[in-house]
């Protein structure tokens, strides 16, 4: 097999995989929320209602596509893909497993090991904001534009603490490449703790997690949509599959964000205290590392759902207050201390 064929297979596989997780997430979201709320949730379509996302997809595809009369048509059409695509693209630099050896050929389980993978992700998440803002503005509705404005302010403000939290990891591990970071996090630290970003940077992890929730527009930070005040905000005027792309893009975002969390703070595909590569064959090791990564990711995906159905929503000013007055100072202090420690220990 030529290299480009392998690359193609990897691209298609990871694209489909992210898609499948996102689709299943919509089902998990509903069923888990139902279970937390003493309900049953969708259980009619297929076994346990597993075909419900499919039914939703069919419904969204077959619905009438309406563009409001006074909307900016080109931008209106451009909004949803602009939001959904960066989320998919970010998955390209995420190492979703170690490596797999097939036919003597070593295949790295990552689409491309960019040496600035880190910045790539931050840059893409910044692009995603345009999708929200353009969608909100092009709809020519007051609720939408309020949602779009909130989205801009929120995503830009939370980019900063997120970056600060990530920088600490960069400082510790000395690299921008996500694969390198995961490799650095194997082994133990202080003799008994896994060498994970979570144990080395607990504060950074919390800041990152909060910022990740804000980036993903999830409760308690779902102000851009906010169905009770802004009638779902920036996508008020959207229908059919355009709406579907927005909703779907959010779930892909969740998948990406939880993957990043696992990479940076939970040692990626590695298990603590155990080196799987020693007692597993080359092929089975690759598959095992993939699934270890997936289960860690699944936990964070569930956490997204879990938190959503537990807490109320922030108010706009409080959200900005939390971002600028609490998270950014904390992130700066954390960065400073880390830098100091790194300087002193090396």
């Amino acid at each position: 097999m030529a290299d480009w064929q392998i690359e193609l297979i990897k691209v298609v596989f990871i694209w489909a995989w992210a898609l499948i997780i996102a689709v299943v997430m919509t089902w998990v979201e509903r069923r888990a929320s139902a279970m937390m709320q003493d309900r049953l949730g969708p259980n009619r379509a297929g076994p346990f209602g597993l075909l419900q996302p499919l039914a939703d997809g069919i419904k969204l595809f077959t619905k009438e596509d309406i563009i409001p009369e006074r909307a900016r048509k080109i931008l209106f059409v451009l909004g949803p893909p602009l939001f959904a695509l960066p989320a998919f693209s970010a998955y390209a630099v995420i190492p979703f497993g170690d490596k797999i050896v097939i036919g003597g050929k070593e295949i790295i389980l990552q689409v491309s090991d960019v040496n600035i993978g880190f910045l790539f992700i931050l840059a893409l998440s910044a692009i995603a904001v345009y999708g929200l803002v353009i969608g909100g503005w092009a709809s020519n509705s007051k609720y939408s534009i309020l949602g779009g404005l909130r989205a801009t302010a929120q995503l830009i403000s939370y980019e900063v603490p997120m970056g600060l939290a990530l920088l600490t990891i960069v400082l510790l591990d000395g690299t921008f490449s996500l694969r390198e970071i995961v490799l650095q996090q194997q082994g133990t630290f202080l003799g008994f703790l896994p060498n994970w970003g979570f144990f080395k940077q607990p504060l950074g992890f919390i800041i990152f997690l909060v910022a990740a929730y804000a980036e993903a527009n999830r409760v308690p930070f779902d102000l851009p949509e906010c169905e009770s005040e802004l009638v779902t905000g920036y996508h008020t005027e959207y229908g059919s599959m355009r709406l579907g792309l927005y909703l779907f893009g959010e779930y892909v975002n969740l998948v990406t964000l939880s993957a990043i969390t696992v990479c940076l703070f939970f040692g990626g595909w590695s298990l603590p205290y155990v080196d799987m590569s020693k007692f597993l064959g080359p092929v089975s090791y690759g598959i095992a590392s993939f699934f270890v990564f997936f289960f860690k990711q699944a936990f964070f995906l569930f956490l997204f759902v879990w938190v959503r159905w537990t807490v109320p929503r922030f108010r706009y000013d409080q959200l900005m207050g939390l971002g600028w007055k609490a998270l950014i100072p904390l992130g700066l202090v954390n960065l400073f201390i880390t830098a100091l420690l790194v300087q002193l220990t090396t």
Binding site: S33, K142, L146, S228, R315, Y316
Partner: protein, 383 residues
């Protein structure tokens, strides 16, 4: 009497300069309870003014009342505050009984009390649950609504309907407490408390919830009285006034309960007052049920009234404490079988007219929180 808990009030509000956005919230909007409409002027997210427009659910109940006989009007009262239809029924029945000069037998009074308190719990549960939903916390709503479902089952077994109850008749109640109640009540008391407890755990001390509610739409007690506030809204402002204590009707003077009161009249106080009132209602039902058990099984439930009521000429006003506050019926009779004029004093009507004052200077999110905490029911508001 007027003000028992002292708070310091200052005049605040937005300055009316600059450009505004007029944002029309409602009548079709996910957070508008029923068909309410608020025309807001906003400066960014701050509200400069919020003018409520009502009348989208105006059905001419008062005009209908003038054209229906006294007993025919009873089912119409269900459609006022449909969250606690029983309170409306009993308020109307009691107003007509006052006009007729009838004293209802004690057993009927106790059954009315029990049912009204159950309705009060159901109403507060809806209000608190919806407040959570509007502030983004969906889960408590389900814990509470499940309890409301249990209460509705008792209603169904007592008088045959779940929402539009049409309970009782003029002169008493038509059915004894159902067996379901005797079976269910001991379990239900605990489950209601547990649901309230769960809600409390999820919301009350959560900082996000506190930030969203504490100090939001705070209102002064004397202003509240001037605006004609009653019920939980008034008590949240620190005025301990409850018609069940101040003008006791039925057998409320024989049961022992507290009036929970807030301090600042903000959304948090309204929420807390409602939560605590549910607790008190459970207490009242327990006591009323104990009194009910002491009565003989075949004690009368109804006073004998003629089939066609012709109250003597006169005009009366009778008010009870409905879950939202003072629900009054003014009836003028001219001696015929139909009321000459019937006027309903809905509690949330008086509260909602102060809406502009309540939300001025707050943010759009607070407007939603305020509206949910007022528990404005469009059916009652527009009549």
């Amino acid at each position: 009497m007027a003000k028992e808990i002292e708070t310091v009030c200052i005049t605040t509000g937005p300055t009316e300069v600059g450009d505004y956005v007029t944002l029309n919230i409602g009548p079709i909007h996910p957070a508008m309870h029923g068909t309410l409409r608020v025309i807001t002027k906003t400066d960014g997210e701050t509200i400069i003014s919020a003018k409520p427009e009502i009348g989208y659910l105006h059905r001419g109940v008062e005009k209908l009342g003038e054209n229906l006989t006294y007993s025919q009007f009873l089912p119409i009262t269900d459609r006022l505050n449909y969250c606690s239809a029983i309170c409306n029924n009993v308020a109307y029945e009691m107003a007509v009984e006052k006009l007729l000069g009838i004293e209802v037998p004690p057993k009927a009074q106790l059954i009315r009390m029990i049912m009204m308190e159950l309705a009060r719990i159901a109403d507060h549960e809806v209000c608190v649950g919806i407040l959570g939903v509007d502030l983004g916390a969906l889960t408590p709503f389900f814990y509470l609504i499940i309890q409301r479902e249990e209460i509705y089952e008792i209603f169904e077994w007592h008088h045959g309907a779940r929402l539009t109850n049409s309970m009782g008749a003029i002169g008493g109640v038509e059915a004894d407490l159902p067996d379901r109640f005797h079976e269910k009540w001991p379990r239900m008391r605990d489950s209601i408390r547990k649901a309230n407890d769960d809600t409390d755990k999820l919301l009350t001390h959560n900082r996000i919830w506190m930030d969203r509610t504490v100090g939001v739409n705070a209102f002064c007690g004397d202003d509240a009285l001037n605006w004609g506030f009653t019920g939980p809204m008034l008590r949240a402002c620190g005025v301990k006034r409850d018609l069940r204590k101040n003008e006791p009707y039925l057998l409320y003077d024989k049961v022992d309960f507290d009036i929970p009161a807030g301090k600042h009249g903000d959304v948090f106080d309204r929420y807390m007052v409602r939560m605590l009132e549910m607790e008190q209602s459970v207490k009242i039902i327990d006591q009323a049920y104990a009194m009910y058990k002491e009565l003989p099984e075949d004690a009368p439930l109804m006073k004998k009234v003629p089939k066609i009521l012709r109250p003597p000429a006169g005009q009366i006003y009778h008010a009870i404490e409905s879950p939202n506050g003072e629900l009054g019926f003014f009836i003028r009779s001219d001696g015929s079988d139909k009321p000459y004029r019937i006027k309903i004093r809905p509690p949330c009507y008086m509260v909602y007219q102060a809406f502009d004052d309540l939300v001025k200077g707050e943010m759009i999110s607070d407007l939603i929180a305020c509206l949910s905490s007022l528990n404005v029911i469009a059916g009652e508001l527009d009549r």
